[in-house]
């Protein structure tokens, strides 16, 4: 197990290097540059800006320079926010995204898994239909619809929660609900399916046949195995949710990382995009490793030799 984890961590370096390389190539192949605007810069001004950010060098040289800086944990200055470095942008956005994403994730798991399991244990009965209807509603109402509706209800027509911005915990309630609902629905659907699967599997049948109580069967045998597809889905989903959501952040005015992915790409802010991509890549690698290790722990059928 330990050596497996170590091997995976070592493997992360080539993974991230390939990621960076591909991202770099794709970004540079896209039309338009960071200094293009409808108010065109004078030629000399533009040339100077490009020289300042080394955009006038051959691509391979820029690539080498970038890797060198990254190796020193320097993501460079942002092209869009000229007064701020990418390191600072990530450092200011990540804690907010982590709070928001972590809370949404917890919300999704705390409600999604029980909802799915209850539905599975009462398969094709009213409780099942009710739970799954709730879940499907969560999936089919996009968050850009849910969020403004909640704002109208909780902040405009009533005075229960702030409509946006960063302040106390109250500011996180609606964003967490808006972000976590769809995910909760996913988790519920997945855990329902796998619980049904597991409850029919031989070892659960055997456990039941041995006369174990239904509760014990569910908690000790079914739950862990039922969680495997959820866990598999959670790896990248957690990395995604923790790096923020552009929709939720713009609607609620929350300064997380999510906006940088989209703003960075739309503004051709090369350094910012590379920075967040690398950051996201690291999270993906880490979460997926955790997920794979969890497999072995949750499901006795899986082993890493």
């Amino acid at each position: 197990m330990l050596s497996y984890a170590l091997r995976r961590l070592l493997g992360a370096f080539p993974t991230l290097l390939i990621l960076l390389t591909l991202a770099f190539v794709m970004m540079r192949a896209a039309p338009g540059g960071p200094f293009d605007a409808d108010r065109e810069l004078p030629a000399q001004v533009k040339a100077n800006l490009e020289a300042k950010y080394h955009l006038d060098e051959p691509l391979y040289q820029q690539y080498g320079r970038y890797l060198w800086d990254v190796a020193h944990f320097d993501f460079g200055p942002s092209f869009q926010y000229r007064d701020i470095t990418v390191n600072d942008l990530i450092a200011s956005g990540f804690p907010v995204s982590l709070k928001l994403g972590g809370a949404s994730l917890a919300f999704a798991l705390l409600f999604g898994v029980p909802l799915g399991m209850v539905a599975a244990l009462r398969q094709n009965r009213p409780a099942d239909y009710a739970a799954m209807t709730t879940a499907m509603l969560g999936i089919s109402i996009p968050n850009f619809v849910l969020a403004p509706l909640m704002i109208l209800l909780f902040a405009v027509y009533n005075d229960w929660l702030p409509a946006g911005g960063l302040g106390g915990w109250q500011n996180y309630v609606m964003p967490v609900l808006a972000l976590g609902t769809a995910m909760m629905a996913y988790v519920a659907r997945l855990s329902r399916a796998s619980t049904i699967e597991v409850m029919r599997s031989n070892y659960v049948r055997t456990a039941r046949a041995k006369g174990l109580s239904a509760r014990r069967v569910v908690w000790v045998h079914a739950l862990p195995a039922a969680l495997t597809p959820v866990v598999s889905f959670l790896g990248p989903a957690a990395a995604g949710i923790i790096t923020g959501s552009v929709v939720i952040e713009t609607i609620f005015g929350i300064p997380g990382l999510g906006q940088f992915f989209v703003q960075g790409a739309l503004n051709r802010d090369y350094t910012l995009v590379m920075g967040v991509v690398l950051f996201y890549g690291m999270l993906i690698v880490a979460f997926n490793l955790v997920v794979d290790l969890l497999y072995g722990w949750l499901d006795p059928r899986v082993s890493y030799s």
């Binding site: 030629a43 956005g93 027509y157 946006g164 739309l266």
Partner: protein, 544 residues
């Protein structure tokens, strides 16, 4: 009881947002909760569009950045609430006989926020920095009237050669290449603000950050969190601090109109800059007094690429397309915010100029359409041989609607075969610049100062992005001529000629002139609209 109310509200929300009661204030609730602290100090909370890309006055590009910078810095001159240019750091100025040499006398009590005196040398340094290509100012070209500025921007001369010098600590002399009627207006722009040299040299790119920034305006930097809020606080060193009422200003970046409105209604904003079109009717019905509209210096237009067919050498066709667009419908039904239909190139709100208009402006709709069809046929198109044309626009709700409407009008009036194509902004800009595939495309232009030149300049073949490929020697000559004439009937005549030439050649189809829309709470006093859309928080006060 409570849960029933929630359910009811939810139901109503689904059915039509007609809300929980018939009471007016509950149908469109707006909370009037000014932020007044225990010590009586006040905070103004402004919505501010996108996150400012920079708070370096010489690097800033966008309107949101300009809004913040106006509070942070004072220029030699400033824009009064009514739009007039009035003294700021400069107490007074004299203009030489030839209108070439401007001598400014700085206020004795003009100081930086750290207490240091503000000197003419600061201005010399800052103006040089603004045109130095190393700075990379997007607005450097605004200073081209100054001696040698253009050569410096092009990299041909050193920044020290700029026609600006300090006669003594408090006297600044600026020399122009040739008389420029709109020169003072450019001095109110952020590109002309002074920056504090020691801060710039010590912190480089990070000098505008709180803690590093030293400013000379009514406010100074207190906090800046990207995508969340920029906080400013009163600058007690400001020369006119005694007349500043509001103690803190907070700028919230909100790009979504509906979010801005919600936060305004929830009492979290005192001033919202984005008003969603779809809620315009409700706002006019329930809170008309809080809605402020102001025609501004901006034109929304369609460019026609003259380098390629079908618009190459086809003036009749270009006129036909222009005439086939019913601008009234677009402003009344689509933009809905009292925008002004554009039948010329220069916004009517521009000071001291009565622009030229298309000669068909006065025709009735039927006659106009008939005339459009006539020209369309003259250009060689007919029902059997319809024009195939593509409209390209950048993604955005308003752009999409207007493109749909224009396509529909060209289809129904002329029988043209129109396709729409939207592109992401940077891809769109690239397409327009290259002009290899574009046909008709949408763009807009916002003026930098209150003078027609800021619009005339755009169509000069040598100026910036020329997506139409329009290059008329006659137009260029007229544009350059009027730019250096003293204001008066003579200049007006030349300007009118230039505009008429442009309209006759029709490389662009002006659609409408912009109108700014603001929601401002009743307790915010002192707001007055001006066409430059330039507002200073120091001119406002909060009086519940």
């Amino acid at each position: 009881m409570l849960s029933r109310r929630i359910l009811l509200c939810l139901l109503f929300l689904c059915v039509g947002l007609t809300a929980c009661s018939s009471d007016k204030s509950e149908q469109f609730p707006v909370k009037n909760t000014p932020e007044i602290h225990d010590d009586g100090s006040t905070t103004l909370r402004r919505g501010n569009g996108a996150e400012p890309e920079s708070l370096d006055p010489h690097q800033a590009r966008s309107v949101p950045a300009a809004n913040v910078l106006r509070d942070l810095y004072a220029g030699l001159v400033q824009i009064a609430p009514d739009g007039e240019i009035v003294p700021a750091d400069a107490e007074s100025w004299e203009v030489g006989e030839q209108k070439l040499v401007y001598t400014f006398t700085l206020r004795d009590n003009a100081r930086w926020s750290n207490g240091e005196p503000l000197t003419a040398q600061d201005y010399v340094y800052s103006l040089r920095r603004s045109v130095d290509p190393v700075t990379g100012s997007p607005y450097a070209q605004l200073h081209t009237p100054i001696v040698n500025a253009n050569d410096i921007i092009q990299g041909d001369k050193p920044p020290e050669s700029l026609g600006v010098r300090a006669l003594d600590d408090k006297t600044l002399e600026i020399t122009l290449k040739s008389p420029t009627p709109y020169f003072l207006g450019t001095l109110a722009h952020s590109i002309s603000y002074p920056v504090y040299r020691p801060a710039v040299e010590a912190h480089c790119a990070a000098f505008p950050q709180p803690g590093n920034a030293v400013t000379n305006g009514a406010y100074k930097m207190a906090s800046w969190r990207v995508n969340s809020m920029i906080g400013l606080e009163r600058n007690t060193e400001y020369w006119d601090d005694a007349n500043t009422a509001i103690d803190r200003v907070e700028f919230y970046p909100i790009t979504n109109g509906n979010s801005a409105l919600s936060r305004y209604q929830a009492g979290e904003l005192d001033w919202a800059t984005k008003v969603p079109i779809s809620q315009y009717d409700a706002i006019e019905k329930y809170i008309p007094a809080q809605l402020h509209t102001q025609p501004t210096l901006g034109v929304y237009y369609y460019g026609l690429n003259l380098r390629r067919p079908p618009f190459k050498d086809a003036p009749e066709l270009r006129h036909a397309l222009s005439m086939a667009i019913d601008r009234r419908v677009i402003v009344d039904k689509i933009t809905r915010g009292d925008e002004i239909p554009a039948y010329g190139w220069i916004p009517p709100v521009v000071e001291g100029y009565d622009g030229a208009k298309f000669e068909w402006t006065t025709l009735s709709d039927a006659d106009r359409n008939a005339k459009a069809r006539e020209l369309y046929e003259k250009a060689g198109y007919s029902e059997d041989k319809p024009l195939e044309v593509e409209i390209r626009y950048n993604s955005g709700e308003g752009n999409k609607k207007i493109a749909s409407v224009i396509a529909s009008m060209w289809r129904s009036v002329l029988g043209a075969d129109v396709t729409l194509r939207n592109e992401e902004w940077k891809v769109f800009l690239d397409s327009v610049r290259q002009g290899a595939t574009t046909e008709a495309y949408r763009l807009a232009w916002i003026g930098d100062y209150n003078d027609p030149n800021t619009f005339f300049e755009l169509m000069n073949s040598k100026f910036g992005l020329n997506g139409t490929g329009y290059a008329s020697a006659e137009y260029d000559r007229l544009q350059e001529k009027q730019a250096h004439m003293p204001d008066g009937p003579e200049r007006n005549k030349v300007m009118k000629q230039a505009e008429a030439t442009l309209l006759a050649d029709s490389p662009v189809i002006p659609i409408y002139f912009y109108v700014s829309k603001y929601l401002i709470k009743d307790y915010v006093k002192g707001f007055e609209g001006n066409p430059l859309d330039a507002y200073y928080s120091k001119d406002l006060s909060i009086e519940p």
